[in-house]
Symmetry: C2
Subunit: 282 residues, 2 copies
């Protein structure tokens, strides 16, 4: 049995939080694509994000993958149907898993969703939560991503910004919500700070954990051992399913390799090797 090859795609480094959570739960070879020359997606239009996402999908498929995870809320919210149509492999996004987990933990049937401007404008979470019987209060938090990328993870400015954004969201929800969905893959890095300033009865759900669980679940349903879902592949060295030792990680980025390595260390909490530059002609 060979390990499956999972393609993971994000506009930049944020999807590494999803990769990290998946790698802890699902033994596989991981191929991560970060579209760093065109990031961020969260401030851009649906048409542009769909165009970029399809290019990323084609690139990862050219590296032969068995499953594609869109580890970016903006890309999932704006382009999941386009990517599914363009892809030959199954595609998992981050919105449905997040909504599912929120629905599981909410007693008041109301959730606050913090996300990028693009994700909020798409109302993808509102729709997904409504399907599960939850009211959604969506709040765009455009400064969170630059604050995380500046490295101000536990910083008074970030706390002040978070108090403003969350204060507005809670006022809008009139204290009905008992779940806070971190609907951007950058936000898990400031989860401890958000936890500190969020009322104790509000549970925090993030894309990384919920998507990793959904991918694991997909493998379980499809036959117990993760690798069994997938065709065997000649090129891979044989290894026992679940053997974490033989997993490989490959990273592909459209902008500077060095900058990606630097930021990726912050997200993954370990050194990142095997980063290649690719030019998608953008």
């Amino acid at each position: 049995v060979t390990l499956p090859r999972i393609g993971v795609f994000d506009s930049g480094v944020g999807g590494l939080t999803v990769l990290k959570a998946m790698a802890e739960q699902v033994p596989a070879h991981y191929l991560y694509f970060g579209d760093t020359a065109r990031l961020p997606y969260g401030t851009k239009s649906a048409e542009t994000v769909a165009r970029y996402s399809i290019a990323a999908t084609h690139f990862l498929e050219s590296q032969s993958i068995d499953l594609l995870v869109i580890a970016c809320n903006s890309a999932t919210a704006l382009a999941l149907p386009s990517v599914r149509q363009a892809a030959a492999v199954p595609v998992v996004g981050v919105v449905q898993p997040g909504a599912t987990m929120a629905a599981e933990v909410s007693k008041t049937r109301a959730a606050i969703v913090v996300a990028t401007e693009a994700t909020v404008s798409s109302h993808a979470y509102r729709d997904a939560l409504q399907q599960r019987g939850l009211e959604a209060y969506e709040k765009a938090c455009p400064l969170f991503v630059p604050l995380v990328e500046e490295g101000w993870i536990d910083h008074p400015v970030t706390e002040q910004v978070a108090r403003i954004y969350l204060g507005e969201a809670m006022a809008q929800a009139s204290d009905k919500a008992d779940v806070l969905v971190l609907a951007c893959t950058h936000y898990p890095l400031i989860a401890p700070l958000l936890r500190r300033i969020t009322p104790a009865h509000v549970q925090i759900v993030d894309s990384a954990e919920s998507t990793a669980r959904a991918v694991k679940e997909r493998f379980r349903i499809n036959g117990g051992a993760p690798a069994r879902l997938f065709s065997t592949r000649g090129g891979d060295s044989p290894s026992a399913s679940g053997n974490m030792e033989h997993r490989t990680f490959r990273f592909y980025v459209t902008d500077s390799v060095d900058k990606f390595k630097r930021l990726a260390t912050r997200f993954l909490g370990r050194q990142v090797d095997h980063v290649e530059h690719v030019d998608l002609g953008g």
Copy 2:
């Protein structure tokens, strides 16, 4: 005599501060290109920014221009030689005008330069200031652009962030600098806030004013009436040189037209019409 056609290019909306200053000083038809599908440039590598800048140059030249102004510090700092090589028309960047103005006003011969990460890494301002006998203290301020785009122009968070960045820059300069160069076209919008927290003996110089002055000067040197520098062009309606009434403004963007209109209003202080979407294949 017909008015000259000036192409103005930026990664997004920041260059509108330069456009606004130029339009007040130089009668011309203005064609503005904002590469909003691929912004920001200020966090990206020299190779990527050069590639994008050359594509923008070719697009504006296809609309027939007489002069190209790179109204973006990151693009000027990282790609001016590449753009000059690719362009058939004369090219003006924002770095040299800013450095010239800083050199004129400085008595202590030392300047603080606040800019994006990419502009600081290029040391384009350090080199330009050193050529004019000034010491440069460069400080990357990656949160200023997102704060301006969030509309927090006069906001306590922006002030707190500015105090941190400027405090670090001034400590580095050990109070020697008497000029603060706003080396990013977004920063003029927070100039009043920066003025408030900067010591009174420090003068503030920005790209918009200095570049407008350089463009005006270029016309003056080349023969008095601005239009005389340029060939007459059949397509334009004839109008007296200096007649502000007959100027036209055209805007081209690679992402959403609506979002550009919204942000452009904040930058120009007036409604923006004639915005077209263009796809450079990115």
